[in-house]
Structure formats: C-alpha cells, structure tokens
C-alpha cells in the first residue's frame, strides 16, 4: 500500500547529504518550498548546488541558505538579492546564469529522458559563448567560465545545445497533495514546481493541504505521484527571521 505522507520533515530530509544538487520550485517566494529549505538549514547541510529560478528578495527560503553560507553553486536566471552577488564576486558561490525558458526546459528535459536539446535562446550571447564568469577568486579575479555551447543552424538561425538537468533531489511546494503523492498547484505558484518534480531523482513535496486518496480527481492532478517520493505538510507560519551564521561582506 502506497502512502507517501511523512510526519517528520527533518527525518525525511536527513536523506539529503551536504554537497547534493537540489532543484527547487518557486518564483520569488511564490510557490517556494520554504518548509523544506528551512529543514535543510536546520539539518546544517552545506556545499549545496541549488537549481532555482531566483534567490528571492530577502533572507527567507533560498535567501536563508545564502545567508548561512550553504550554497556552493547557483543555477538560476534571476538571482536578484544583492547579497548573493557580493558572495559571487568574492568567490564564495558560483553562478551558472541560464535564460529562464532554457532553465525550465532543461529541468523538463532531464526528467523526460531527453539528454540535450537545441534552443535559439541565448545564441550569440555571453551566456553561450564561453565568456560568462562562473566563479571568482577571493580577490575577484575570474577563475572559471561557463562552458561554450555547441551551436547548430536550423532554418538559417543559430541555436545552442543545452543539457537536461537531473538533480539529486527535487524540492516542490504544492497546494494539495494526496497519499499517493499526486499534486495540485494553485495559480502562479505552480511555475517551476512541476518541472522540478520531474528533474529530481528523489522528490520531496511540501503541501498546504493533505488529501485522502481520490479526493483529487484524476483530471485535476498537475503532477502525478510517480514523480513524488515524500509528502509533508507545509508549515503554516511564515518563515521566521533566520540567524545570520556568517557575516556577509
């Protein structure tokens, strides 16, 4: 009998080791799985590679991970938080900057058994020609650059080869989830969540409402439970202000 409901978020997320790659849903704070992100902070996981569209605008969620120095690399389209860039230019975190549509499709492709695809997005720009700085030394010197993309012409236009992303873990937030792991999202909080659910080898979902099997109609399921391993109840309270473990420059 399949029952993916889990009582204790900390014991479930104990499966995530430091150094893991994590695809994370959300667009800003909308649809972002803060219960799961907070649990990883409380478990003191470090050296994480986060694949998430943006950091957000404050020190909650992904911002808390940044403030506590837990991120080794960020794969994102729109980091935003100024303190993130301080860390990036100081060589404390790497940035793989990806056009937003390419990021979404790379997650979808990785979860769909598509190793790579061609897209016109980013062709002829710094994000495909091998010049964008991936990492810096402490003095700000560039130490690594994003790899140059293979290119190919289709219909007279240049396209770049982008790889599917298979993350070690996926962190999803949904509106409703049932015992079988079937998920339903609400409004624009859906955003990257279904794709993150596809990309992760093991996927944790925090849901605002736990439903019994068959309460969600088959036609109303946005992400079927086949993609989801563990379902926990999202904490109802807004994330509290984190303690800043490491002073930001």
């Amino acid at each position: 009998m399949i029952d993916k409901f889990r009582e204790d978020v900390l014991s479930v997320l104990g499966a995530v080791p430091s150094g893991a790659s994590l695809a994370v849903g959300g667009f800003g704070s909308s649809g972002r799985p803060d219960t799961l992100l907070d649990a990883l902070c409380d478990l003191d996981r470090r050296e994480l590679h986060l694949i998430v569209n943006n950091v957000g605008s404050d020190f909650t969620g992904v911002g808390r991970m940044l403030a506590e120095g837990r991120i080794r690399r960020l794969t994102a389209s729109f980091p935003v938080l100024p303190e993130f860039y301080d860390e990036y230019f100081a060589g404390k975190v790497q940035l793989e900057l990806i056009p937003q549509g390419t990021l979404a499709e790379r997650l979808r492709a990785g979860g769909s058994g598509i190793p790579a695809f061609y897209t016109p997005s980013g062709a002829g720009t710094m994000l495909s020609d091998g010049t964008f700085p991936l990492g810096h030394a402490a003095d700000g010197a560039v130490t690594d650059r994003m790899p140059e993309r293979e290119t190919r012409e289709f219909g007279g236009r240049q396209h770049v080869l982008e790889y599917g992303i298979v993350a070690d873990f996926g962190l999803v937030r949904a509106y409703q989830g049932d015992r079988k792991g079937n998920l339903r999202f609400r409004l624009s909080a859906r955003n990257f969540n279904p794709l993150v659910g596809m990309s992760g080898r093991r996927v944790f979902a925090e849901v605002q409402h736990l439903l019994e099997t068959d309460e969600l109609q088959p036609d109303d399921i946005h992400l079927p439970g086949v993609f989801v391993d563990d379902v926990v109840l999202a904490s109802g309270t807004a994330p509290k202000q984190p303690t800043i473990a490491r002073s930001l420059p």
Partner: protein
C-alpha cells in the same frame, strides 16, 4: 506631460519629446484586438492603461500567466498570484495558468504576437542589449527567450541615455540579449521599423524635426516619413 530631452550639442538644440507615458501610449495604439503580448519591466508596464478600448489584448507573464489583469486593491493580494516582477496580480476573465516550461513554449514557439522590452542599446541591424551592464549584477530572466521567440520584438526606450549618448548605435557595446531580433523601436522622439535588418524612421514625435532625430542617432537609417512629420 513632456520631458526636455538632451543637452547634446547639435544644431537643433534641446527638443521636447514624449514622456514615458507618452511613449507607452504611442505603442499601445499599435496593439491589435486578439494580440498576445508580453510586457517587460519599466516603460512597458505603463502600456496596459493605454490599450485602445475595444481591443482585447491578452497579457502573458513569464511565470505562467496568460490573461494578466491589473494590480489588486490593497488587502486583496494573493501570494499565489504574482506577475513576472513578483508583484501581486489579478487575472482577467478567460485567463489560464501554465507551468514555466509551457510558459516558455508559448514564448519560443512563436505563440506570442509581441514582446515589448526596454533597452540599453539597439543596433543598426536590430541587435538588442538590455540584460547586463558589465560591472553590475548580472540577471537575465526571460529576456533572451522572449527576443528569440516572439513574432515581433518592440523596444521602448528613451532615445538617448542620461549622459546624452545615443542608444541607437552602429553596434552594441553592451552584452547582447539577441542578434537581429528587434522589429520596431519606439522612443520619446521617433518610431523606427527594422526591415530586412535595416532601420527605417517612420514617424517623428509631435513637434520633433527629423534633423533632431538624426543628430541623436548613431546608426544609419532611411526615412519613410508621412507629410505630418515635417515641421510646420
């Protein structure tokens, strides 16, 4: 409402062009009933209030909204409904929600009629630079997908920058968002169309002489102006 543009040296001296609202209003007149449109940040966000009555324009937001409405009144914000700038949003009747992959399938697949964006620079051949000022904090969002995929890319911007330098240039010096992607350009002084990779001036803002545009444009272009564009 008008702004005084330009302390740049030139025989025409200072000219009064359109305000930011004026540029938005001018562009909105070209939006047709049934268009699906994505609006970037800055001047593009001023456009919705000027969409002509009787024209139903579906607004797309990168985070998966088709049928974006105006901001909600205070107290009616829903954390599960935001626009691409992460601000609280509403939906219009007939709206649809999709995930981020389908949102960009709409963008890249040619299902957007127009993407409207701001710019740092536009080149003589329609190259666009609008995502990154070297030395500042890089962030791209959906800009590269939007310019690569929308059927038309309309740029709205001030004709010259704050230092008085032309933003329409022979070749962009800022990092590119896309090559040969711009199809129209609306500024405080003029409207240009990109035809076969070449700039064509099609309209001057009211009271702006074509010579003033020439002095403030650092790229070659041809003129295809109606009689109303000549100073009285």
């Amino acid at each position: 409402m008008t702004d005084t543009i330009g302390t740049q040296s030139g025989t025409t001296g200072a000219v009064r062009g359109l305000s930011r609202e004026g540029i938005a209003e001018r562009l909105a007149r070209d939006l047709r009933d049934g268009f699906v449109v994505n609006l970037g940040v800055g001047i593009p966000l001023l456009i919705p209030r000027f969409i002509p009555a009787g024209a139903e324009v579906i607004l797309h937001a990168e985070n998966g909204v088709l049928g974006l409405g105006p901001a909600p009144p205070p107290g009616r914000e829903d954390p599960d409904l935001t626009d691409a700038g992460k601000q609280p949003a509403t939906l219009v009747s007939g709206a649809a929600i999709v995930d981020s992959a389908m949102s960009f399938a709409i963008v890249r697949g040619g299902h957007l009629d127009v993407s409207v964006l701001g710019a740092l620079q536009v080149s003589a051949h329609g190259d666009l630079a609008n995502w990154y000022v070297p030395g500042k904090n890089p962030a791209v969002g959906g800009a590269m997908d939007l310019v690569a995929g929308a059927r038309e890319v309309w740029v709205v911007m001030e004709h010259i920058d704050r230092a008085g330098r032309p933003k329409i240039v022979e070749d962009c010096t800022f990092p590119l968002t896309g090559r040969r992607v711009v199809t129209r350009l609306y500024t405080d002084l003029a409207v240009f169309h990109l035809i076969d990779g070449r700039l064509r001036l099609t309209e001057c803002a009211p009271g702006v002489p074509p010579e003033a545009i020439r002095e403030r444009t650092a790229a070659p272009y041809t003129e295809d102006l109606g009689p109303g564009c000549r100073p009285a």
